[in-house]
Symmetry: C2
Subunit: 450 residues, 2 copies
């Protein structure tokens, strides 16, 4: 049945549920519902489609303010943990990964919400750790300016340590529930964490038993030096951004070598680059679809977005001129490192106009966009996978659910025929889909299962 | 069909989903699953049973630490907003009310989570505002001691103001979604709140359109002076605790007179006292069931719990002696006012031993327990309702789901025959079930609909 008994290594495929789709104009397609971004039924439909194709997980990005130009496009709106609980109720096997910020939450609350999501989903939860770089978010949480990059990451590291300690504050077998004796929980199996750190004092224990997965899966997207260190220390999967194999390979090696140096074993961190897809029966059809979608995005919007990624005033970008040569990380290094570097790698050694770059990025975001036939898309996926540049991909279909359906109906069968992707789920939890061991916790000793 | 066209006033019935049930020993019943407290399927089953009986809402209490003796009993464990999203997915009409603390959250996050729950449930969400009085919770959020009572309530008031302002930061008609013109949202219909207060600075707007109910329903449980003021200012329903009609009537008048003085109109706040039920075919059978369940609770546990409510060292309580005469609010007035006063009103003018009190409270909590036949329970509900001492009740069945099934199968039909309770849902939202107007918000003007 499954091919993974013979195939030594299998692809991991998540789908990023970006409201109406990756392309900012996706909501304008004839078949699109403009109100999809606040409709739980839309997210359920996409998740069920992904589950039918045996994808590893759905992934929900998040923000703590309005960071987009809402006059032109939908935004990440519904809070991920609440939305994903509803998605979990309508699915049985697919993983559910939600984003939450370490800068604008308390670790006890985040530990509890993702542990609850893991219980409610029967062991399918993952937490995507972000530090939230925009000024609007800061102003929604009592701050006048964004905390600096290093400070955000120092807090994120301690935050994640506290969350993990809380998840481990109950032994796996703490709940006895013996009706005859009346013993409900073995109190000696539930321990305070007594954390006293630079950012947090948290006594614990968590008020919730250990979860089906032991710990929800930790996901991160570290592009900066601090981000990579956080990923190497804690992440089990990284949602990266890369436009070339070389770049992704170097990133994967750097993260995994650092993780190994920290005692986490070889290749502890799955590397899953973002991959937007626009699929057509022919390459020409796919390119036409791309251009039609890009033409539905106001150029003024795309220019502003690209200018934000590159940290230049929008006036410095001219549609039919090349990118400025003197680019530096936005906000004195406090910007989004991942998208900045990915965009530079896209143009490296080539002569691109700003218009070309916006077309290639489909509206000015930072992720790689593949435009082509199902075979071309499958070939690129296989090429990166076999080169070790990716353990899989975080898919970003151009439009949802249509673009995902294009992928599951036309690309997934090719990947299955090539023995690269599962035909059936073998496990029930996200850890099992990702091939990650369940951390065991008995008698206060945490054991990394073989 | 429905009787509410002819009946001038209808009861409102919520059910408090306290894990295995109100009585701490409920998990020891032969039919109980001891692991129900972390099983989403258990909560779904209870909610579906409540929905089949046309109850107004399910209600989930919450804590931010372990406040119970876990060696003897289950605890509130799963985080309410996440759990209730899963419950919403498995139901279509019943309201879902979750508890969240204003002392250990940020208003932007709470506004967003409950707004998401309202979107995901199609307009069925309610937020129960609590300030969280226990020291364990404080220690999970960086504090050595509990903030004092007045300070917690001052924060809660400002917190709630900010949450309401964020819920109103989008006009009802802000989302245009016009594919032809490409206009997605009318930016002039989405406004910052620019809140600068003693506890919070929140710029806004919320990154989520206004919800199906306009605002999720606000619920509170104010027993103290500060708590009553908070209820009068913000609550649309109060989950109170009272053992006598006189007490509940006085409470209802005080809250609603204060609300009217604040300009909220007559009887703006629904009063829903907690009501635990133990139902038997005969009164003797019901009493036998109560005594069996109470005998399954260790007396040492019940004594400790009662001592906590009354603010005395446990050594001062002797099972076969009356309560001490010199009782004062626990923790210098920082304790749970509701349960303290309710317990005193239970014994007022009567000669009760400590054992009697524990039996009457079924283990030392503060809520009223009705033990009897379906007719007796219905009679008491009707008596309080007709006296104006209650607009309905927050039901706390002895055991779940069994005790709720006893209620829905035997008491609800009596209430329906008497024209006191709906036979079918007339509305789709919790506001509609409660008979509350949907607050309208257009062009920056908030209008209280008639």
């Amino acid at each position: 049945m499954s091919m993974s008994q013979t195939a030594p290594r299998q692809l991991h495929l998540n789908v990023n549920i970006l409201h109406s789709g990756f392309i900012p104009s996706a909501w304008r397609l004839p078949e699109a519902d403009p109100l999809a971004f606040t409709d739980v039924g839309h997210y359920v439909k996409v998740a069920q489609l992904a589950e039918a194709a045996k994808l590893d997980a759905v992934f929900l990005a998040d923000n703590a303010s309005i960071i987009e130009q809402i006059d032109f496009r939908p935004i990440t709106a519904l809070e991920p943990t609440v939305l994903l609980a509803a998605v979990a109720a309508a699915t049985t096997r697919i993983g559910i990964i939600g984003t939450a910020s370490t800068s604008y939450n308390e670790p006890y609350n985040i530990a509890r919400r993702f542990a609850t999501l893991d219980h409610v989903s029967g062991g399918r939860a993952g937490w995507n750790i972000v530090t939230t770089a925009d000024a609007g978010s800061a102003r929604n949480f009592g701050l006048d300016t964004v905390p600096d990059h290093a400070g955000r990451y120092a807090r994120a590291d301690e935050f994640t340590q506290v969350v993990k300690a809380l998840w481990n504050s109950w032994d796996d077998d703490a709940v006895i529930g013996d009706k005859a004796s009346g013993r409900f929980i073995d109190e000696s199996s539930v321990r305070p964490i007594a954390h006293r750190g630079a950012h947090f004092s948290v006594q614990g224990p968590l008020n919730l038993p250990r979860t089906p997965q032991g710990q929800p899966v930790l996901v991160q997207a570290g592009g900066s030096g601090d981000g990579r260190e956080l990923a190497a220390r804690h992440a089990e999967a990284v949602f990266s951004a890369a436009h070339t194999i070389e770049e992704s390979l170097a990133y994967s090696r750097a993260i995994n070598e650092r993780a190994a140096a920290l005692g986490r074993g070889p290749h502890a961190v799955k590397i899953l680059p973002g991959l937007a897809t626009i699929i057509g029966a022919t390459e020409a059809q796919a390119l036409r679809r791309r251009d039609e979608l890009v033409d539905l995005i106001p150029w003024s919007y795309s220019l502003k977005r690209l200018a934000g990624t590159l940290g230049v005033p929008v006036e410095r970008l001219q549609l039919d001129q090349p990118l400025p040569a003197d680019l530096a990380l936005p906000n004195g290094g406090n910007g989004n490192h991942t998208f900045f570097h990915a965009t530079l790698s896209l143009v490296k050694g080539r002569e691109h106009t700003v218009r070309d770059v916006i077309r290639a990025l489909c509206g000015g975001g930072g992720h790689r966009v593949l435009v082509g036939t199902p075979e071309q898309v499958a070939d690129e996926i296989e090429r990166w996978f076999r080169a070790g540049a990716a353990d899989g991909f975080n898919l970003m279909p151009d439009a949802l659910p249509g673009g995902l359906q294009d992928f599951t109906e036309s690309v997934v069968p090719i990947l299955q025929r090539r023995g690269l992707f599962r035909r059936e789920y073998e496990g029930r939890t996200l850890r099992e889909h990702f091939g990650l061991a369940r951390p065991v916790n008995v008698g206060g000793a945490q054991v990394r299962a073989a």
